[in-house]
């Protein structure tokens, strides 16, 4: 076989594995979210389907898939149905470049982090046209909030990624990992603690998680951009949201926590362990903090995270030049 064919086959197999991984993670995180919320509130969480309710999400998926698809009368049908598809479409590409382990990378791109930043940006476009096409005031407000929130928090993420890139001298995710060691004190988080905090907070805001879930804020906007969606349209949004949690955790693991490297037996399990711990913290945060106000949200980005990011970038540049 020639090289081109082999690459093609590899991409198809990788794509199938990634789709399975996305579905698995959506089920796992959905179940985890409901269990964690139950535990924190002193409840048991889902318990009826399967042992300890572990098959609850399967049943929910069947319900979502078999629901009737309804388009509101005055909605723009094309935009309305492009949005969830677009939201989910960009998601598998994100996993293509994430190096789970040296051999478990679909595309070992030299521009991995750029691809992730570019394609995760498509999600906000989906939210925007979904909110616009719904012809509903809550959806429109949610979409407007999503866009302004995304623009505000994309800047600190770029600044952070830039300082990591300056330090390691590469945009390739696997090379960033290979420049870190196996032990915690060899990870980038020790050299870039401010960057880690900025990245974590900004990632939470980028994927519209609590405490920054203003685009869908239940108490104010019913469900924001997804108000008019039901059945699998809504399901695709949820699937994309959960996948964005996994991708954000993977990127933070790659950039700051040494990726697949561990003190002993480096491999994919270290990557998955770190990734799921981060996912768990993100789910935990949802039930710990109240939602911020919109001006507080924008202040956090423009007044604190971006100046801190610029300072961090300049300091990194100076230190890289000196040593």
């Amino acid at each position: 076989m020639s090289g081109v064919e082999w690459t093609f086959i590899k991409i198809v197999i990788g794509m199938l594995l990634i789709l399975g991984f996305i579905a698995f993670n959506a089920i796992l995180l959905g179940y985890g979210e409901r269990k964690i919320s139950g535990f924190i509130q002193g409840r048991l969480g889902p318990y009826a389907v399967g042992p300890h309710g572990s098959l609850q999400m399967m049943v929910d998926m069947v319900k979502l898939m078999t629901k009737q698809i309804i388009t509101p009368k005055k909605a723009d049908g094309f935009l309305f149905w492009t949005a969830p598809i677009l939201s989910f479409m960009s998601v598998p590409v994100l996993f293509m470049v994430i190096p789970f382990s040296p051999s478990f990378t679909v595309i070992n791109s030299g521009l991995g982090i750029v691809i992730i930043l570019a394609f995760s940006g498509l999600n906000v476009l989906a939210l925007c046209i979904g909110g616009l096409g719904s012809n509903n005031k809550w959806s429109l407000l949610g979409a407007a909030r999503a866009v302004s929130q995304f623009i505000a928090f994309e800047v600190p993420i770029l600044l952070v990624v830039l300082s990591i890139t300056l330090m390691t001298g590469t945009l390739s995710l696997s090379e960033i990992i290979s420049k870190q060691g196996g032990f915690p004190w060899q990870w980038n988080i020790v050299l870039q603690p401010i960057a880690f905090v900025i990245m974590f907070v900004a990632s939470l805001a980028e994927m519209n998680r609590v405490p920054f879930d203003l685009p869908e804020g239940e108490s104010e906007l019913t469900a924001g951009y997804s108000t008019e969606y039901g059945g699998m349209g809504f399901g695709l949004f949820v699937l994309a949201e959960y996948t964005h949690i996994v991708v954000a955790s993977s990127v933070i693991t790659t950039l700051f926590l040494g990726g697949w490297k561990g003190p002993v037996f480096s491999g994919i399990w270290w990557f998955l362990l770190k990734m799921y711990i981060l996912c768990f913290i993100i789910l935990w945060i949802r039930w710990a903090f109240p939602r911020v106000r919109f001006d507080q949200l924008l202040n956090l980005s423009w007044k604190y995270l971006i100046p801190a990011g610029i300072f961090n970038l300049l300091a990194t540049a100076l230190l890289v030049k000196l040593f």
Binding site: I36, G38, F39, G42, R43, L44, W284, A288, F289
Partner: protein, 166 residues
């Protein structure tokens, strides 16, 4: 300068509060749960202590078979939602007093004690007003019904069934 230090203090306080929130929720996450997995498990008797359900008649402690209800109707009159209906059979008999005079005596016999629980607001006025202290709340919470009449209880009949009179 003072404002900057104030600002920094604010920020540090905010960051500390985040960890406090995480700590509290984390503690609750590993605490034993207060709810039970209901249709398969139910709470114990001690958890239902003080729970108010439909009123019931109390047996006399001496024999444990009869109640002391005198069918005075105070409970029905005090009920704000009018959910208590008493079925009282009055019989009049003439009795002779020791001094030879004859007097009419009214005997009130309780035939049925109906409580419409779908109207009851479990306020407890009937329990408080009862002159012979023969009413109390029951605490069996698992009731279900398909019609309104399922919640009209004849608590006298229930009493007789339970304590085996007649």
């Amino acid at each position: 300068m003072a404002t900057i230090t104030k600002e920094i203090k604010e920020i540090l306080k905010g960051i500390k509060s985040l960890f406090v929130g995480m700590k509290i929720t984390g503690k609750y996450m590993i605490k034993p749960k207060v709810t039970v997995n209901y249709p398969w498990k139910t709470v114990g008797k001690e958890a239902l202590e003080g729970f108010r359900m439909v009123i019931q008649l109390v047996p006399v402690p001496a024999n444990g078979k009869s109640h002391k209800c005198i069918a005075c109707g105070m409970c029905a009159r005090s009920c704000p939602s009018n959910c208590i209906k008493l079925d009282v059979k009055q019989t009049v008999e003439e009795i002779e007093l020791p001094d030879g005079k004859k007097k009419k005596k009214v005997n009130k016999n309780l035939e049925g004690f109906y409580v419409d629980f779908s109207l009851c607001s479990v306020c407890g006025l009937c329990v408080e007003v009862c002159p012979t202290k023969t009413l109390t709340f029951s605490n069996y919470p698992y009731i279900v019904g398909t019609t309104r009449n399922d919640f009209v209880y004849n608590i006298l009949e229930d009493f007789n069934k339970r304590y085996g009179k007649e």
